[in-house]
Amino acid sequence: MVAEKQSKFKWGMAIDIDKCTGCQACVLACQSENNIPINTEDNFKDARGIEWIRVERYWEGEFPNVKAKFIPILCMHCDNAPCEPVCPVYASYHTVEGLNVQVYNRCVGTRYCANGCPYLVRFFNYWEPEWPESLQNQLNPDVTVRSRGIMEKCTMCIQRIRRGTRKAKRGNNEVMDGDISPACVQACPTEAMVFGNQKDPNSKINKMKNDKRSYTLLDHLKTNSNVWYLAKVDEDVDSHSKEGGH
C-alpha cells in the first residue's frame, strides 16, 4: 500500500466511445506487438481465440434506422481485481504502478482467475503457440512467448512502459504525458484511446476520466477499474446507461 502511494505512476486508459469507429486497428496492433498466436477461423469456432483487446459490436434499432455501436474491451487493470485473490500461486498480481499483471512463470493454469474476471479478458493457452514460417522473424523480442497451459492477458504493453521510464531515467527527464503509449493507443486512427499517468495532474487521461461522459464498466462490482469509457453522444438517446454500456 505504501509502495503504491510512493510510486510516481498509476497507469490508466480512457476510451472515447464516440470516436471509436470499430476499425479493429487496435486489435491488430496488439496481436503483432504482444506475440499473440494467429487466431484462425478454427480458433474462433472453438471459442479459443486469444484477443487481449476486442471490439464488441452492438446493433441498435430496426432496419433501416439501425445504429452500430462499438466498444473496445481490454483488461481493466482493476484496483480491486477479482482475479487476484483467487490465484493460488500469486501469478495474477498487482504492481505498485497500478497494473494488474500476469507472471507467466508462476502460472500453473488453474483458470480460476478467468472465472473471476467479469470482463472476460483473460485467455488460456490450450495449445503450444505456433506461427507460420514467414512470421517467425516478426516476433517481438521484448515479449515472452507464452507456452501452453498458462493464462495471459493485456499488460498495457508493459515492455513499452518499461522502455519509456528507463529512457526518461537515463536522460534524467520526467516521463511526459504522451511519451508512453501501448500498441493499441498508438494504432488508433481516431485517437479514441488515451493512455497516461493518473498521478500527473495535467495528464490528458485525468481530464478524460473526470469528463461528465465518463463511466467504468460493471462498476456495481466495485472492481475500481482503471479503464474509463466516455459515453457515445447520441441525439436520439437522452440518458445513457451508466452500467453496462449497452
Binding site: D46, A47, R48, G49, R54, E56, I73, P82, P85, V86, C87, P88, V89, Y90, R106, C107, V108, G109, T110, R111, Y112, A114, N115, G116, C117, P118, Y119, L120, F123, F124, N125, Y126, W127, E128, R148, G149, I150, M151, L217, L218, L221, G244, H246
Partner: protein, 457 residues
C-alpha cells in the same frame, strides 16, 4: 421384524473373512476388466498431459468443465464415510455397524480420486506438483492464502489424513484376527499392521476412545471440506449463478445425499458378491433409506431456495443463465433428468417399505441418485460459467470431449479397482463390530409383543 440371527463368533469369522482367506471365483475376471479400464484411463491422462488441454472441450467462457464437476462429485461421495461412521456413532445408531468400514473406505478412495482432478485440469500440473503442495521455499513466495484453491488442498488433505487414521484405528482388531489366520509373508505384514494387538481391556479402551475422539474431530472437517469446495465457486462475484450464500450448506447436504446413496450401492454389491446376507440385512437398507428421505428432502428445499433467490434479483445474466439451464436444449433434458433421478424417482420409491426392503430396487435407485447428483454439479458449473456476466461475448456452450468422458469413466473404474483390491486383503465388514452388535442388541417381551432392544453404555 426381526431379521437378526444369533451367530457364533466362529461363524462370523468364517463368513466375513471369506474374501480374504481365499479368492472368490469372480475376483480375477472382474479385476481384469477394471484393470484394463484403469490402464486406458491413465493412458488417456498421459495423452492429455502430452498434448495439452486443447484435447478437452473447454472454451471461453467455460473454463471449468467436466473435471471440476467430477472433482466435486467425488468429494461429495467421500462424505459417506464420516456421515455413516462418525455421526451415526455419536448418535448411537445401532444399524451403522456393518457398513462403517466400507463407508470409510469409500471416503478414502474417493478422496484420492478426487485429488487427481484439480491436478489434471490445471494447465501445467507438473508445476502444482512441486510448487503448490510441497511448498517451494526456494522461490521465496508463499502460496496465496486468500485463494480458495489453496484452502482446498488443506481441507482435503486434513480430511484424507483423518479418514485414513479413522479407517486404520477401526481396522486394527481385524488385522489381528487375520494375523492369526495366515502364514508366511502375509503373516509378517499383518503382524506389523496389527501393532501388537492382543485384545486386552486396555487396548480395547484405547481403541474406543480413539474412535470417538476421531469422530468428534472429523465432524468439523466433514462440514468444512465441502463448504470450502463450494466456496471455490461461491466467492467469485463475477459469476452471477455461483455467487450465492446458500452454496456451502447446499453442497454439504447434497454430498451427504450422494455419499449415503453410494454406500447403499456398495452394500448391495457386498451382499451380492460376498453373500453377507447375515450381516447386511434389509433392515439396514430400510434405516438408510429413511435417513435418505430426510436428507434428500432437505437438499431439495435448498435447491428450491437457490433457484428462487437466483431469480429474485432479476438480473439479466441470472435470467439468461436459468433460461439456458432449464429451458434450452440439451440442458433442459439434463435438468429434467437431474430432478427425476436426484429426487423424484428414488424418494418416490423409498416412501414404500416394500421398496426399502428390496435390495435390487435400492441398488438401482441409489445409482440413480448419483447420476442425478453428478448432473447437478454439471448444471451448476457449466451453465453458470456460460452466462456469467453481460460481457460474455461468446455465447458458446461447452460439451465434454471424448477424452474427458474416458477420464470420467476411468475414475469409476479406478475407485472400484482400489476397493476390490482392498477387499482382497482386508475384511470389508468389521468383524469386531459384527460381534459387538451381537452383544449389544437383544430383545424383550412387552406383553405379547417382542421388542428389539439396544444396550447403552
Amino acid at each position: 421384524m426381526q431379521q437378526r440371527r444369533q451367530l457364533d463368533e466362529k461363524q462370523i469369522n468364517r463368513e466375513l473373512l471369506n474374501g480374504n482367506l481365499e479368492t472368490p471365483k469372480w475376483y480375477y475376471p472382474v479385476m481384469g476388466v477394471l484393470g484394463v479400464g484403469v490402464l486406458i484411463g491413465f493412458a488417456t491422462i498421459l495423452y492429455m498431459f502430452n498434448r495439452g488441454l486443447g484435447v478437452t472441450g473447454l472454451a471461453r467462457p467455460v473454463y471449468w468443465g467436466l473435471f471440476i464437476t467430477t472433482f466435486v462429485f467425488w468429494v461429495g461421495i467421500s462424505h459417506a464415510g464420516i456421515m455413516i461412521s462418525a455421526i451415526l456413532r455419536l448418535t448411537q445408531a445401532e444399524w451403522r455397524r456393518p457398513v462403517t468400514r466400507a463407508a470409510e473406505l469409500l471416503t478414502v478412495f474417493s478422496l484420492l480420486t478426487a485429488l487427481f482432478f484439480p491436478l489434471m485440469h490445471a494447465g501445467r500440473p507438473w508445476r502444482i506438483a512441486y510448487w503448490l503442495i510441497p511448498y517451494d521455499w526456494a522461490r521465496g513466495i508463499w502460496p496465496n492464502v486468500r485463494s480458495p484453491l489453496f484452502w482446498d488442498p488443506i481441507a482435503i488433505g486434513t480430511y484424507l489424513t483423518g479418514s485414513t487414521l479413522f479407517l486404520f484405528v477401526a481396522l486394527i482388531p481385524d488385522l489381528a484376527i487375520l494375523r492369526d489366520r495366515t502364514t508366511g509373508i502375509k503373516k509378517t505384514i499383518y503382524s506389523m499392521l496389527a501393532l501388537g494387538w492382543r485384545g486386552n481391556p486396555r487396548q480395547w479402551q484405547l481403541q474406543v476412545v480413539a474412535g470417538i475422539l476421531l469422530s468428534a474431530l472429523m465432524l468439523p472437517i466433514f462440514v468444512s471440506v465441502h463448504s470450502i469446495v463450494s466456496w471455490d465457486f461461491a466467492v467469485t462475484p463475477a459469476v452471477e449463478g455461483w455467487h450465492s450464500t446458500i452454496f456451502a450448506p447446499y453442497f454439504v447436504i447434497g454430498a451427504v445425499h450422494s455419499g449415503v446413496s453410494a454406500v447403499v450401492t456398495m452394500m448391495c454389491l457386498m451382499r451380492w458378491l460376498w453373500k453377507w446376507n447375515n450381516y447386511i440385512r434389509p433392515e439396514h437398507f430400510d434405516a438408510l433409506a429413511r435417513l435418505l428421505i430426510i436428507v434428500a428432502t432437505a437438499w431439495l428445499a435448498f435447491t428450491f431456495l437457490e433457484l428462487i433467490f437466483s431469480l429474485y434479483g432479476r438480473d439479466a445474466p441470472e435470467i439468461a443463465l436459468r433460461e439456458l439451464q432449464i429451458f434450452t436444449w440439451p440442458w433442459n433434458l439434463i435438468f429434467i433428468t437431474f430432478l427425476l433421478t436426484g429426487y423424484v424417482i428414488p424418494v418416490g420409491c423409498w416412501l414404500f417399505k416394500r421398496c426399502r426392503n428390496n435390495i435390487a430396487i435400492m441398488f438401482w435407485t441409489s445409482i440413480l441418485v448419483n447420476v442425478g447428483m453428478w448432473l447437478e454439479r454439471f448444471l451448476i458449473i457449466v451453465p453458470g460459467l456460460a452466462r456469467k456476466q453481460v460481457f460474455v461475448y461468446t455465447w458458446e456452450g461447452y460439451w465434454p470431449s471424448p477424452v474427458e468422458w474416458i477420464i470420467l469413466v476411468w475414475s469409476f473404474a479406478w475407485v472400484s479397482f482400489l476397493m476390490l483390491l482392498f477387499a482382497r486383503f482386508f475384511p470389508l465388514v468389521p468383524l469386531f463390530e459384527a460381534k459387538e452388535s451381537q452383544v449389544f442388541t437383544t430383545e424383550m417381551k412387552v406383553g405379547r409383543a417382542t421388542v428389539p432392544m439396544v444396550i447403552r453404555e
